[in-house]
Symmetry: C2
Subunit: 288 residues, 2 copies
DNA sequence: CCCACATGTAGTAACTTTACCCAAATGTAG
DNA sequence: CTACATTTGGGTAAAGTTACTACATGTGGG
């Protein structure tokens, strides 16, 4: 089952510095046009990189492949995963098509990292808490406010009392007034916003459950009951964080899906009824 | 460039019925363990399928590969794309790990569809309108409200007057009060909410620009100045729409990126200053 | 100046493909 | 309905590629 992403291309990139002259030539030839490399024979690649065939072969073995053909297959898989763009940062002179592609592919790559990083056990624990919750509150400030709002929308359909707050004062009040059985989900990219940490501690002091969707290892993560964490490196300093919110949304989707599934068949009908109640406000589907 | 998903495995599955006896034996052998097939030599695969080597070769050519090695590479890519999950819907008895993976992979697949479907020219047009805007308003109701809120957060940093509205009454008032140079971005998954269409028409009547992030071909799309459209099929009827909002967010990311880039270097410093102003509210990065 | 490492040459082994042939099935004419 | 022709499916074996191994040669560091 396990998908174990080799990310061969990334590995080649990383080890580029540690390779000797000829092998670096091979690496560069491959990175120059990875998908072409999958079509080359060992002789063709050797010629392109201007080295001998055994050098290519040694290079392949260096990346723990049994030989050139095996290496080519791993490379092909690595490409299919969308890896070629990963890490390629957006440059000021990119065309619209180029940076649009980069934004999309970077987002996809980050989602994939998140997929691999997320711990199913923690997810399951979080879902269990949410199902048993008397009341759910989503807290997110600044850039995470939309995520909290979205979460409220999704969980609203489960007929558990649910709210979101994007304002520290209200969050503090809710945390102070919480008790056993209340679940507070705190969404924060950095996990280093002082107030959020204090709020989490307040809630915990009142025996509420605190689920953190934040960076693992951050001060906020330290205090949460459960942490659903992802480290998506991005150029936070200058541009705005982009992928992180999308990952957070995806985590919310997973939690919502989990709650739906665990509630069983009867409950899925309830969801359908809510959907149906919205139909009246819409025009009929395109007829032509 | 073009990523053209072959989905070779799917194609083999589909054509299984139309193959003659021996070639079907080959197909079945491959489907039985696709990833093993990528490691086999033609002789090994022939033995496993209990046919001769040329038969395997003919089979490969039948799937428009130049030969067996080429076929193996396409097969490898097909496996790596995560194909097994794409389209596989979530089932009530999935484990947490399974459905979490499916949610993520479905989202990724939809983002990729969006990436290919988005028209760079329309994006460029939208970005131009946004740069020249006197005022930008994001409208989104229900599930699209969080997207509108997120957009406001992102565009707030550009020091253009920007607001979001999630309430039809306010939206109508803003549309009625708009004029040339105002840009209204309407976010709607279905593009069939009656009120939104009327609101769009009001805004257009006042010479405002209306950018629609919605389903192409929908009634709303018909009336917009520019449409940034994506058709992400999902199980809207029972579960809630998930991927669509994430795609919409990604589109917002692209627009924001475009505006940032087009504004040039000086402006990116301005963004950095805003970032810096937030530092004071945070704990320092992990020190250990 | 020598040793060790890096790299290339040439030959061999493995793998793939082509050319050819046989067998079975289907079609056709007597 | 039989007998011959034609097409289709599929295997054998040899030719052609491709990849690997063993060895030779060069080159930089001690």
């Amino acid at each position: 089952m396990s998908a174990k992403h080799d990310n061969l291309l990334e590995e080649i990139q990383n080890r580029l510095e540690n390779l000797n002259k000829s092998e670096r030539k091979v690496a560069e030839a491959i990175l120059r046009d990875p998908s072409a490399a999958t079509r080359y024979s060992i002789a063709a690649l050797a010629r392109t990189a201007d080295v001998s065939e055994p050098t290519v072969n040694r290079f392949c073995r260096g990346f723990s492949a049994s030989g050139f053909p095996d290496f080519k297959i791993r490379l092909a898989q690595s490409i299919a995963t969308g890896t070629p763009y990963v890490g390629q940062n957006i440059k000021p002179d990119d065309s619209v098509e180029e940076f649009a592609d980069k934004v999309m592919l970077t987002t996809m790559a980050n989602l994939d990292k998140a997929r691999q990083a997320l711990n199913p056990k923690d997810l399951a624990t979080a879902i269990d808490y949410l199902i048993q919750a008397k009341q759910i509150n989503f807290f997110g400030m600044g850039g995470s406010a939309p995520v909290a709002l979205d979460a409220q929308h999704k969980f609203f359909r489960f007929n558990i009392p649910v709210m979101h707050y994007d304002d520290a004062l209200m969050q503090r009040m809710v945390a102070a007034g919480s008790s056993t059985g209340d679940v507070i989900v705190i969404i924060s990219y950095t996990g280093r916003t002082k107030e959020m940490i204090e709020i989490a501690q307040d809630a915990l002091a009142n025996d509420a459950t605190v689920i953190g969707i934040t960076t693992p290892g951050s001060p906020l993560a330290e205090v949460c009951t459960v942490v659903l964490g992802v480290t998506a490196a991005e150029d936070t300093e200058v541009y705005m964080p982009m992928s992180s919110r999308i990952i957070h949304l995806a985590v919310i989707d997973i939690l919502a899906t989990g709650v739906t599934l665990k509630r069983g068949e009867g409950f899925r009908n309830h969801l359908k009824k809510i959907k149906d109640s919205l139909k009246a406000t819409r025009l009929p589907p395109a007829s032509s």
